[in-house]
Symmetry: C2
Subunit: 348 residues, 2 copies
C-alpha cells in the first residue's frame, strides 16, 4: 500500500493539525514529497511540534484556505491532495456559522475549482464527518442513512461532500470523501473545545482534574485510532476505483463514555462525575452513534487494527511524554510552539 | 388567505425579478407594506418595469445579499421575509461556482443569522428548486426522493435549505422552503440563459426566430404559472404549522417541450428544430421531471389553478403588449429600464 507514495508529490491541507500531521509523518516515511498547508488558526489544533520529527523533510506553507490564489498555486503539479483543513467544532459552528461555512464548504469548492482548472489529474481526498447524519435513526449507521445535520458544521461538510461528488461526475476529477467518526490518538488537540469529548477527557486526566461527563455517560460511540484513519486516507489517495464515492469509517467495537473513562483510569488517577448537558450542547447532541464501514472495507480491505484499550494506552504514552506541547491554552499553542520549535525555517 | 397580509411588513429579496415582482404586486394588493431588495445584477431578471404598477407604493433598496450589514438592517421589524433573490442558472453555476455558492448558500445563512439575532419572530420563506433532486429515479418526484444535484446550483440550494431547516430546529426560527419547478408567466426574464427553456422559447417566438430544442423534444416537465407560485408563497408566509418543513410545488399535468412549442404556435408564427445538446447542457440535463406536490396540498390546500394552455396565453398577452421592456440583451435590461422608468425616486 505504501509503495504508491514513494516519490509522489502530496499536498496535506491542515497538515499541522491532528490527523493531518499523523498523515504527514507517514507520508514522509513512505518517501513522499510533502507540502503542508496550515493556517495556524488558534484553537484548531495546529501545532509545530506535531511535525517535529520530519520538520526538515517537508515544506510548510502558512496560508488560509480562503486565500484562493495561494491555494491555486499550491495545487499545481501535486499527485495527491488530502483536504483535512477545517473547523471541527460543532459548537463553534453554531456560534460563528459563516466562518464555518467559508472554511468547510466554500473553500472546498474553491479547491475543487483550482484542481479543475490547473490539476485535473490529481487525486483529492476529503475529510468529511459522521456529524452530517444527525441523530441516528438506526444503528450502525451506513452511508444510506438519511442526512439530517443538527449543526452548521454538518451542513457545511455535507455541501462540500456534494461538491466533491459533483466535480467527479461532471468534470471527471478524482475525488473521494471519507466520513470520519471519533478519531483519537497522539497529536490530537487537547485544548480545543466542541470537538468531541476524548480530547477533553485526556486533558483532564493529564492535569489530574475531574472529568465532567455530559448526560448519563452511557451514550455509545465508535472510536478510530489515528493510525487506522491515516491508513484509510492512504488507501483513498491511491485508488481511482473510489472516484466520486463516499465512505464511512468506523469501528466494530463501540464503547460508552463511561468505558472510555474506565480505560483512562488504568493510566491516570482521574475522578469523574455525570452532569447535565449545557443547553448549547444538548441542542446538537446526537445520542448513540456507531457506523457501518463495510462499504469501505469491501472496496479497499480497510479495517481498524487498533482496539480502544490499545489506542488509549498508546495515546496516553505519547501525551504523558510530550505534555508540555499540548497543555497550553488553545490561543497560545500554535504561537508558542512556533517560537520554541528548533530552527528549520519555514520555506514557502 | 390574503387578509393575513393587510398592514403586514414584508421584505421581498429579489423583488425586482420574475417571481419576486409578481409576489410584490400581489402583496401590495393585499395591503402589505413591502420593501423590495434587489441587486439589479445583470442577467438575473431584475427589471424596474416589473414593479411599475406599484412603484410609488413600495420601498426599493438596491443592495446585494452579500452585504450582510445592509441585510441585517433590513430584516429588523419585518413580519414576513421572502427569500427569492439568487442565481437560477444551472449553466452559470458551473461556469462561476463560487458566486453561485456565495449568493445561493452563504448569503442565505447570513440572512438566517441576521434574523436569529435581530428578528427571530419573522416568518421566512425560501425559494428552493427541484434541481437538487438531479436526474429523477422515479416519477413523480416527491420530497423523499434522493438528493443528487447535477450542478453547483443544486448543491448550493440544498445546503441553504438545510440551513433553513436547521435554524428552525435549533433556534426556533419560522422557516419554510418551497422547491420550485419550471415557473413561467408575465415578467419572467426573457434574456437570461441557463434558466430553463420557456424563457428562451418565448423570446424566440416574440422575435420570430426559430426555436432550437435540445434533444428530442419529448422530455417532459411540469410547469407552474407564476400566479399559482405566488399563491404558494403567500400561504407559506402565514402558516406556522409549516415551520422547518420543505415542500415541492408542481403541476398534475405535465407536458413535453414539443407540446410547449405547439401551444406557443397558437400565438406566434414560430418555427422549430431539434438539435443535439451542447456539451455543458448535456452534462447537467436531468431528463424527464415532474413533481408530486401532495405534501403541500395536504398542508395548505394549495393546488395550481392555471393550466398550461391558459398560462401560455396569458404570458403571451403580457409580453406581446410589453415586449419593449423584455427583449433587450441581458446586460442592458436592468440599466436601461432604470433610465426609462417614470420618476418615483429610489428610496432607501
Amino acid at each position: 500500500m505504501t509503495d504508491f507514495y514513494d516519490n509522489r508529490r502530496v499536498l496535506v491541507l491542515g497538515g499541522l493539525g491532528f490527523i493531518g500531521s499523523n498523515l504527514t509523518l507517514k507520508l514522509v516515511d513512505c518517501g513522499a514529497h510533502v507540502t503542508v498547508v496550515d493556517s495556524l488558526a488558534p484553537g484548531l489544533g495546529a501545532n509545530w511540534f506535531n511535525v517535529q520529527p520530519v520538520r526538515n523533510r517537508i515544506r510548510v506553507v502558512v496560508s488560509d484556505l480562503r486565500d484562493a490564489d495561494r491555494l491555486t498555486a499550491l495545487v499545481r503539479s501535486q499527485d495527491v491532495i488530502f483536504s483535512l483543513a477545517g473547523r471541527v467544532s460543532h459548537i463553534a459552528s453554531m456560534r460563528d456559522p459563516l466562518i464555518d461555512q467559508d472554511i468547510n464548504c466554500r473553500s472546498q469548492l474553491s479547491l475543487l475549482e483550482s484542481c479543475r482548472q490547473h490539476n485535473p489529474a490529481a487525486r483529492i481526498v476529503f475529510a468529511s464527518t459522521r456529524q452530517l447524519y444527525g441523530r441516528p435513526r438506526y444503528l450502525p449507521v451506513d452511508e444510506r442513512h438519511p442526512i439530517a445535520p443538527v449543526d452548521v458544521n454538518g451542513v457545511s461538510k455535507r455541501a462540500a461532500e456534494m461538491f466533491f461528488t459533483l466535480y467527479h461526475k461532471v468534470h471527471g476529477l478524482h475525488t473521494v470523501s471519507l466520513r470520519l467518526t471519533n478519531t483519537y490518538g497522539p497529536r490530537m488537540n487537547l485544548c480545543g473545545f466542541g470537538q468531541g469529548f476524548m480530547n477533553v477527557f485526556l486533558n483532564r486526566a493529564l492535569t489530574n482534574s475531574r472529568i465532567d461527563i455530559f448526560g448519563t455517560g452511557l451514550q455509545r460511540r465508535d472510536f478510530n485510532y489515528v493510525d487506522d484513519v491515516v491508513d484509510a486516507f492512504l488507501l483513498a489517495g491511491q485508488d481511482d476505483r473510489l472516484d466520486g464515492r463516499i465512505f464511512n469509517l468506523g469501528h466494530a467495537d463501540h464503547a460508552s463514555l463511561l468505558e472510555v473513562v474506565r480505560l483512562l483510569q488504568r493510566h491516570a488517577d482521574v475522578d469523574f462525575r455525570c452532569v447535565p448537558f449545557p443547553a448549547d450542547y444538548a441542542a446538537i447532541d446526537v445520542g448513540d452513534y456507531y457506523g457501518d464501514f463495510s462499504r469501505f472495507h469491501e472496496a479497499t480491505g480497510w479495517q481498524p487494527k487498533c482496539d480502544l484499550a490499545q489506542g488509549i494506552a498508546a495515546t496516553w504514552r505519547f501525551f504523558d511524554q510530550h505534555r508540555e506541547w499540548y497543555l497550553e491554552s488553545e490561543h497560545d499553542s500554535g504561537v508558542r510552539s512556533v517560537q520554541r520549535i528548533p530552527a528549520a525555517s519555514t520555506r514557502d
